[in-house]
């Protein structure tokens, strides 16, 4: 009995210590990545390749899911707003929901599962193939050559992806609301413009997407770099990337929202 309790406490303690340990080394890892930034900006080709890798390749999924999220928002919003005789407020509902929350959050989740997992797998495989060690042998710093450009590529791509997501969503809401369900075009846009504020809503949404982009890329890179150099290790690392970054995005979203939208 006592042995079982003892074992349980040991297990919990071990997990906590391990977690803190990993968090510490992740922070040191990110510090190292940021300190090796300059090469990526001196050789824009490296950065450009990473923007292509994490941004352009995620473009299709972002556009299509943004469109469908907007379509669903339009349908559901119309159903509910019609009951109160204010279907014209559909534009407000769709735009605020997308710009403030859904745009940054859903595109960050998609980004984590599309680009983040790919980054982890790439780094993990490079590590297990000893490509990273080979680079070090040739006196090429893998942080400067591979990891830092990956980080900044994801960092730059994410806000743009979120903006595209929101714009496509609003277009989807417009398609359903105005073209199919017959909400007045003028009312749709003017109510939207009257209630969406540039600094309060749009800029805060962009800030959110920047933070999410940094968090997701940092998690993906650390998990890839830290993964055990085996097939199983890489697969676990990819899973952990998607799970951890989804949790991190949602938790960060709560923190940021409570700072930004305080009800004033």
């Amino acid at each position: 009995m006592i042995k079982a309790i003892d074992g349980g406490i040991r297990l919990i303690g071990n997990q906590v210590v391990n977690g803190v340990w990993r968090f510490g080394s992740a922070t040191r890892f990110m510090g190292h990545v940021v300190s090796q930034t300059m090469l990526g900006f001196r050789r824009p080709r490296l950065l450009l390749d990473q923007v292509f890798f994490s941004g352009v390749l995620s473009l299709i999924i972002i556009i299509i899911s943004g469109l469908f999220v907007g379509l669903v928002l339009g349908l559901q919003g119309y159903e509910t707003l019609k009951r109160y005789g204010s279907a014209e407020a559909l534009g407000t509902l769709v735009a605020l929901a997308l710009v403030r929350e859904l745009g940054p959050v859903v595109s960050a989740l998609l980004f984590a599962s599309r680009a983040g997992s790919a980054m982890t797998a790439k780094l993990g495989l490079m590590k297990s193939n000893e490509q990273l060690s080979a680079m070090e042998m040739m006196a090429v710093d893998p942080f400067a050559r591979v990891i830092a450009p990956m980080f900044w590529g994801g960092f730059l791509a994410m806000p743009l992806l979120a903006a595209i997501f929101s714009a496509m969503g609003i277009f989807g809401g417009y398609l359903i609301g105005v073209v199919i369900l017959g909400v007045d075009t003028g009312a749709f846009w003017s109510q939207m413009q009257a209630s969406v504020d540039l600094r309060y809503d749009v800029v805060n949404g962009v800030i959110k997407s920047v933070v999410f982009g940094a968090a997701v890329t940092a998690i993906a890179l650390f998990e890839g770099y830290d993964s055990p150099p085996t097939a199983e290790g890489v697969s676990h690392a990819v899973t952990r990337t998607v799970v951890t970054s989804a949790l991190a995005v949602l938790a960060l979203d709560f923190v940021l929202t409570s700072f930004m939208f305080t009800g004033f």
């Binding site: 080709r45 450009l48 390749d49 923007v51 292509f52 941004g55 352009v56 473009l59 735009a95 710009v99 791509a157 806000p159 743009l160 992806l161 903006a163 595209i164 929101s166 714009a167 496509m168 609003i170 846009w189 939207m192 413009q193 009257a194 969406v196 504020d197 540039l198 309060y200 809503d201 749009v202 949404g205 962009v206 004033f264």
Partner: protein
């Protein structure tokens, strides 16, 4: 994929993202309306501001002419001090009446300005003399009940 194709795609992606940001800023947000710097401030003191919030619109004849910039409590006069940021294109006479109104039955509260006939115009930082407080539903109902009760007494 060759190098130039990557360049092209990144270019398309970045341009698309910037267009999306621009659409969000101009078409969805109200970047084109009153900006923070292009305007002047006037102060209005209300006995009761009701549910007026910062950034609520200021309207005259139904047209948005500014925004509520700040809501404070004056601890000497016990009134609500509301700072209004008015677009510099619009000027209002000194005897303008400011009132807190509600858009629709359950809508947002806003400040309505009714222009007077004074020759002199309100300048930056000046205090609006005449104001009308927000209608508080409980007070209206209370007054209604009170009137009803006194009516009943006189009839007897």
């Amino acid at each position: 994929m060759s190098r130039t194709a990557v360049d092209l795609w990144v270019g398309i992606f970045v341009t698309g993202g910037q267009i999306a940001l621009l659409v969000l800023a101009l078409k969805v947000g109200n970047a084109s309306s009153v900006s923070e710097t292009d305007g002047y401030r006037i102060v209005a003191e209300f006995d009761n501001i009701g549910g007026l919030k910062v950034r609520a619109p200021v309207k005259s004849a139904g047209v948005v002419v500014g925004r509520v910039e700040r809501v404070q409590f004056d601890n000497k006069k016990f009134v609500g001090r509301v700072t209004l940021l008015i677009d510099k294109h619009y000027e209002f006479p000194k005897d303008t009446i400011g009132s807190i109104l509600t858009a629709g039955l359950l809508g947002e509260q806003y400040v309505g300005l009714d222009g007077g006939g004074d020759d002199q115009m309100l300048k930056d930082g000046e205090i609006m003399k005449m104001t009308q407080s927000a209608v508080v539903l409980e007070k209206v109902i209370g007054q209604f009940l009170y009137n009803k009760a006194s009516e009943g007494n006189t009839q007897k």
